[in-house]
């Protein structure tokens, strides 16, 4: 239904190549997240799949059919935009019905599908309002509604939650995940937020400067990052990287230890340092440790009850089984 295959895709704007040759397969029913820092080409890649940009070379296949030259509407994909891109002069009902009207569907069928989508997305009470009278989260739902009535073979999301406030974002994240579980349609989701990627994805595609750095399930990327970039990008707080003697001891150019894999104690440990800032989240506490002689700061995650203060001297012990080793090129050993 929604298997998307990219073969040797490239995209250049003028003389600058934004996407170097790239291969990627998105399986039917998969929730794939493109994640990477801003300007890494993830949105461009999505727009290439959508057909809003033409590929410079390469082939896009959707459900076994060559879609490289196909117009966006003919690809059977639906897209949710960052700005929602609702039509401001139309009511919610008309917004959702627009793609069906363009497909010359009968009014009875349109009515049925719109009502169906509205009940799925809790929009029934707002059908006769205009987008301007809705809140951010409701607008987001209308945009999703407009996408699902078409029953596309795949959904494309372009940073859909970045305009929402933090609390709403968590809620919408769940709703989209639930929607995916219910529809089991292929979804491609672009974000720069690794938390969204980790929580929602079946498969994460980490991009940097148009290159695919690694493809895998969230836990795969967390446990076995292929290089330093992926290791640093996935996981929050960020992984600690150490170079020099400590790395040599592990026969590596540099080593990485996640904050949650370091024990902190006041009596004994491998490393010593002084507590700088400590961030109390209630369930957890993040300590930023200075003067370890290993790196400028080392971030450590401890339980919420651990109560070191600014200036306390503490001892750190990394869990030896989860130390990541990297060579001089930053690749995992």
């Amino acid at each position: 239904m929604g298997r998307i295959v990219l073969e040797q895709i490239t995209k250049s704007f003028g003389s600058t190549q934004v996407i170097p040759p790239l291969d990627l397969t998105i399986e039917d029913g998969e929730f794939t997240v493109f994640v990477g820092p801003s300007g890494c080409g993830k949105s461009t890649l999505l727009r290439l799949i959508a057909g809003l940009e033409d590929v410079s070379s390469g082939r896009i296949t959707i459900d076994g059919q060559d879609a490289t030259e196909l117009a966006p509407a003919k690809r059977g994909l639906a897209m949710v935009f960052q700005s929602y891109a609702l039509y401001p002069h139309m009511t919610v009902r008309k917004n959702i019905a627009f793609p069906l009207r363009m497909a010359k569907m009968g009014p009875a069928e349109i009515e049925k599908r719109v009502n169906n989508a509205a009940s799925v997305l809790n929009l029934t009470d707002y059908l006769d309002r205009r987008p301007g009278q809705l809140s951010g989260g409701q607008r987001q739902r209308v945009a999703i509604g407009r996408a699902i009535v078409r029953e596309p073979s795949a959904f494309l999301f372009d940073e859909p939650l970045s305009n929402l406030d933090a609390a709403l974002r968590v809620g919408m994240r769940l709703e989209i995940s639930e929607l995916h579980k219910r529809l089991t349609t292929t979804m491609i989701y672009v974000t720069h937020d690794q938390v969204e990627a980790m929580t929602m994805a079946d498969k994460i595609v980490v991009l940097r400067a148009g290159h695919i750095e690694q493809v895998g399930s969230p836990l795969e990327l967390y446990k076995n990052p292929r290089n330093k970039f992926v290791a640093g990008f996935i996981g929050s707080p960020k992984m600690n990287f150490l170079e020099g003697d400590e790395a040599k001891r592990h026969n590596a150019h540099s080593i990485g230890v996640r904050p949650e894999h370091i024990e902190v104690s006041d009596s004994k440990g491998d490393w010593t340092g002084v507590v700088g800032v400590s961030e109390h989240l209630g369930s957890d506490t993040f300590f930023h440790i200075h003067d370890t002689g290993l790196a400028e700061t080392i971030t450590v995650r401890a339980g919420g009850e651990v109560g070191f203060r600014h200036g306390d001297r503490v001892h750190l012990t990394p869990r030896s089984d989860v130390i990541h080793k990297f060579d001089a090129q930053g690749l995992r050993i």
Partner: protein
């Protein structure tokens, strides 16, 4: 304007402008009303010093029963309507074209706006002598090139010619307003519509045109105000002959050619009434676009 003090100050600061504008409007309006009820023929020796004879509604009756009145009203409406249709349709078209990325966009936009800076009298003279003249005009040469006999534009198609001249003059204004409106259209909306399967035509009808509705309303309202009082273009080209006599021009003829100030003032009052009727209709039709 938060405090009592700043509100009072604001009133004092605005007072000169308000007083000036009110005076500017009220004095001529009162004088027009005053003259419209008087017999005032300067060449027959009537003057303000000698006192003017009160004639009641005689001027009004005479103005409206003249055979030139109703044709002048319909000419006015045709002229205003014609110019509005041409400028809005072509203006939308030009605005879309000029919004495309193209080479030399900056200079091109200035060139498009240029006709608006030419004075109406000059515009009319340029068109009359350079384009429409049946002997030396550009169109005459064009017609002769194809072996056709030149058209006497200002005689045979007088009203159409004037509509064309005035449209040429006002098209830049419409384009200018509409191009700024079109630039504020969110490109993601167009992309969303494209993904939704809307053709270029449907995108124009369902997305671009509704987005422009407010700007189009403003163009129509502002242009109507100015178009109701077109004068120079008619004066310079046909002098009101060949069915180009608008209400404004008729009033001019009554006052200047016939030297009948009372009659002309009555016509002026009719012109005010006509303008208000047009305004009411326009606000009914397009005014709701401004509320959104």
């Amino acid at each position: 304007m938060a405090t009592q003090q700043s509100r009072t100050l604001a009133r004092y600061m605005m007072a000169p402008a308000v007083i000036l504008l009110l005076g500017w409007m009220l004095v001529p309006l009162t004088m027009t009303l005053f003259f419209s009820f008087k017999k005032y023929l300067p060449l027959r020796g009537d003057s303000l010093e000698n006192g003017l004879e009160w004639v009641g509604f005689q001027n009004f009756v005479r103005f409206i029963s003249s055979s030139a009145f109703w044709p002048s009203v319909s000419t006015t409406m045709i002229m205003v309507g014609g110019v509005l249709i041409i400028t809005v349709v072509l203006g939308v078209f030009l605005a879309i074209l000029l919004d495309q990325p193209l080479w030399g966009q900056g200079p091109l936009r200035i060139l498009v706006i240029a006709p608006f800076f030419v004075m109406p009298t000059v515009t009319a003279l340029v068109w009359k002598n350079m384009f429409l003249d049946p002997v030396n005009g550009l169109f005459a040469h064009l017609w002769k090139f194809f072996g056709l006999s030149p058209v006497e534009w200002l005689v045979d198609y007088s009203l159409g010619s004037i509509i064309m001249i005035v449209s040429w003059q006002w098209l830049p204004f419409a384009t200018l307003i509409l191009i700024t409106a079109i630039q504020s259209l969110d490109s993601e909306q167009l992309e969303a519509a494209e993904m939704d399967g809307a053709s270029a035509f449907h995108r124009f009808i369902h997305i671009v045109l509704p987005h422009l509705s407010r700007a189009i309303t403003i163009v129509i309202l502002i242009q109507t105000i100015f178009l109701l009082s077109i004068f120079a273009e008619i004066f310079v080209t046909t002098g009101g002959a060949f069915g180009t006599k608008t209400l404004t021009y008729l009033i001019f003829q009554r006052v200047i050619d016939s030297q009948n100030i009372g009659l002309g003032s009555a016509g002026g009052v009719y012109a005010i009434i006509l303008a208000n009727i047009v305004a009411i209709f326009l606000m009914r039709i397009v005014g709701k676009n401004l509320d959104r």
